[in-house]
Symmetry: C2
Subunit: 121 residues, 2 copies
């Protein structure tokens, strides 16, 4: 077994592309992913699963059709399955996502922001 | 829907008992729990599930029968299911755990450190 810790900052230093989540760990059939985000994402939902956002560094806005949440470093939020949301960040923000393996970043929406899935860093 | 962020530090300020995880969020049938730990825990395993440790503040050692990992703030580790482990912290350490709902902190081991399950903060 590999007893090396997974260091979030070290993993974040290894890629720059925005809105392009990189897998850093698997727990059962779930994945922990890191992403750097800046600007506005697209409206989408994940019909089959909740999705967790944890802000590592920066400020993340998540818009909903009927509200909004702003997450600072050290804050998290669970998007319930099927709830449309649009993440956005005025400045670069570093986040961790937790969701089942196989979840695509834009849900069922096809976009130029749709990222390749299951890319590890 | 409640659009309030979940602030880890604020949640951690609301309890003091060591080795007594408090649930702060649910994602599908998984829970995110915060814990303060200090001293040595008991050897145990979780035969049916992986378990994620994320260190928020401090230093956590996790011993295995054939090795050890030391996690600092901003580092995480996935304990594979069925692998015996013993967490320990020389000084107070604040951690987040991610695991399926219903997992008991000492696995199938009965101990004075066995905590009540599903306690929210």
């Amino acid at each position: 077994m590999n007893y090396a810790p997974i260091n979030l900052k070290e993993k974040l230093s290894k890629f720059d592309k925005y809105w392009s989540p990189r897998v850093i760990a698997e727990m059962n059939d779930y994945q922990f992913k890191l992403a750097k985000v800046k600007g506005e994402f697209v409206w989408h939902d994940h019909p089959d699963t909740d999705e967790v956002f944890i802000v590592i560094d920066g400020t993340l806005d998540i818009e909903f059709r009927d509200g909004k949440v702003t997450l600072e470093s050290g804050e998290m939020f669970v998007i319930p399955k099927g709830v449309e949301h649009k993440p956005a960040a005025q400045n670069e923000c570093k986040i961790m996502l937790v969701e089942p393996k196989g979840v695509v970043n834009t849900g069922e929406v096809e976009s130029e922001l749709t990222a390749e899935n299951d890319v590890w860093v």
